[in-house]
Symmetry: C2
Subunit: 302 residues, 2 copies
């Protein structure tokens, strides 16, 4: 659309020159304005001259000890100042306003079993930061979604992002004490075979069974019912519906208050872990740095 192009080009003034004009009009001094803008007096003089040529009229009258605005300059100055105030405000708002809202994409399980219990201390430490949680198991693409930082599970090798390991995604069977009591307690791995297995198709079960020396064929026979999130399976386990295989680190509260028990110390580990990830380019953004430092300290401290 060439007509748009020519229209715009001719309609907008040289911006750098306008910025200088605004400062000079405010100070009524080339030297002072140049100082404010961090450049030399000669540069200011150059820009004003440039702008005057573009406008087609002098903007300042050069009087011996000072300069004054011409009529044309007087007409232009107020609007220009206002425009820059607007621009500066919008820019500042975007800078700090963006800092006021932290969008965290997190896995459902992590959100309900870890963040929900810890986020309070982050809010206390950063009261001006509003946290928006976006829980989904999708692998977020920072370029396509309005997400600042994410919790992911996996191998930790994603390109273009900064990663910090939170904890290993090891896994171990867990069940309610009441369910365990129905068979007189779970003493050894084989006891599990006498109980319902939640999501027996899960590769974790297979890995753990192998590690525990149990026959994996058993699993195949079980009716499959994947709920797709540890939190759901854990709830089923708490309700006594079966044994779930989950990451122990995410259920410390349930273990502590006895809703769940972890019958064996043996944990499986497929090399996966929970990671904190965010775009490398944004590692120094205040709110991202704040969240990173908080969560790493929180993980290390517990």
């Amino acid at each position: 659309m060439p007509e748009l192009k020519s229209r715009q080009v001719s309609q907008l003034p040289p911006l750098q020159a306008i910025r200088v004009f605004e400062a000079v009009a405010r100070h009524l001094s080339f030297t002072k304005a140049a100082g404010e803008l961090g450049m030399t007096q000669a540069a200011a003089s150059y820009q004003i001259k440039l702008l005057e040529e573009r406008v087609g009229a002098p903007l300042f009258l050069r009087r011996p000890r000072q300069i004054v605005l011409t009529e044309a300059g007087q007409r232009m100055a107020p609007a220009v100042s206002e425009a820059f105030a607007l621009l500066g405000g919008a820019y500042a708002a975007a800078r700090s306003g963006a800092d006021g809202m932290l969008c965290v994409s997190t896995l459902l399980t992590f959100a309900s079993n870890w963040l929900a219990q810890h986020l309070g201390s982050f809010q206390v430490a950063h009261p001006s930061l509003a946290v928006r949680l976006d829980t989904s198991n999708r692998l977020v693409d920072f370029a396509r979604e309005d997400i600042d930082i994410a919790i992911r599970s996996g191998g930790g090798n994603w390109p273009g992002v900064e990663v910090h390991k939170l904890f290993n995604a090891d896994f171990t069977p867990m069940l309610s004490p009441k369910l365990a009591a129905t068979i007189g307690g779970v003493k050894e791995p084989a006891d599990l075979l006498r109980l319902p297995i939640l999501d027996p198709g899960d590769i974790w079960w297979r890995d753990w069974f192998i590690a525990a020396g149990l026959p994996v064929e058993e699993l195949a026979k079980r009716p499959g019912s994947s709920m797709g999130a540890q939190a759901y399976e854990a709830n089923a386990a708490i309700a006594g519906q079966g044994v779930a295989i989950v990451t122990a680190a995410l259920f410390k509260a349930e273990l502590a208050d006895g809703r769940l028990i972890q019958p064996f110390d043996l944990v499986g580990d497929d090399g996966h872990a929970y990671w904190l990830v965010y775009p490398q380019a944004r590692r120094n953004v205040p709110k991202i740095r704040a969240f990173r430092e908080w969560i790493l300290a929180e993980i290390a401290g517990q």
Copy 2:
């Protein structure tokens, strides 16, 4: 004032990037925005990336077939657009607004005896141009006064200005027919000696007397009374108070209607002339070009 400097520098965004942002936000397309701004898509991409780094947050989400504003971008876009509208308006107003007012500095005599009678046709030809006359005999300095164009009398060799000769500042005696009748008509130069000479100390009288073969000693004896402007002396002459030596070209109307007569064809010429002058740099400014072309045609046509 270093604190001002740092404040400003950090507060204002990179303007070129902001301009690109405004266009991209309007089109929601890098390619189209780049087209509007007359640059390549790569350049727009570069500037947006730059701005995003400065703001500390992404401004657009890159979706497959289009881009959308992030929250931060949405906050910034309206204010930025408004600011640019303001800027564009102020700039356009200064460009055309400056064209709407033409400040002419002119000699008193020229204003009252030539411009006053001709300016009407200029107004008709350029109805949108308001002309402000600044009559004074000072030599205006375009850098110090808010003047677009000037009429000057002199040798025509001024530095830094464009000059056009309007007519020679030749001079010749003029008087009212009634005064001439009091001595039975003015037939030859010597007749003037029998009449009052207005401003006899004027160098023009001396030059003309010499050219006419009259004794200049006569002039020295006369009581001096310079009025400093031809218009005043001409008025005195019209009132019959004496003989004035003035530039004939400026009194064509008075000659035509008989208020003044020019008894001799002999004119003095000291090499001076009336000139149209204006800053060289502004020779192509529309209103200046308009006035120049008009006055030269007017002079040539009469």
